[in-house]
């Protein structure tokens, strides 16, 4: 049986807890996770993996130290290259999909 996954259900499963991703799906060796972004996260980088982030609902800014910040609203995405220091901040409560290797723990290095 092949399962249908509904993002609205995953939003409910987050139950308003920010920065605590839930697994949405895995495909090949990649994980798709959904998190509620609220306020500012912390500066971090992922040494060995690129990370794709896609804003499902809301508005965020990905802050960088070595390049211009990237502001994203619903339907927009960016890829954060491995090794690049970044700090996500939500401009309103935002639900964000992240694509990254399954091996990566979803908390940043």
């Amino acid at each position: 049986m092949t399962v249908k996954i509904n993002l609205s259900d995953k939003v409910k499963a987050l139950n308003g807890r920010p920065w605590q991703p839930v697994e949405v799906a895995s495909v090949n060796d990649q994980a798709v996770r959904l998190a509620l972004f609220r306020g500012e996260y912390h500066w971090h980088n992922h040494s060995n993996e690129d990370e794709l982030i896609f804003v499902y609902k809301g508005k965020i800014v990905v802050q960088f130290k070595d390049r211009p910040n990237v502001e994203l609203t619903a339907g927009e995405l960016t890829v954060i290259p491995k090794g690049v220091e970044h700090c996500p901040k939500s401009l309103e409560d935002s639900y964000v999909l992240m694509f990254e290797p399954l091996s990566l723990k979803s908390k940043g290095d």
Copy 2:
């Protein structure tokens, strides 16, 4: 510089051409592609890779031979396991994101 990608822009880039995916982004060894699904595709499978499909806009059904069909509307996704015969069909013009290995040509085997 880290680039922002807007799905509405990618929808425009498709210019109404069905079943001709455009590349949205690549992350690690995976490609994210967007396609317009219109009408029925053809039966196929991918021998070595799972494929994640996410409906950005519209309504589709993924038909299977060996399991129940899966109907998906905007905000819903499924993972088609490698080797599983499937045939996507749109119930209305639909824009669909696909996540699959970069090595896979977007036309099915």
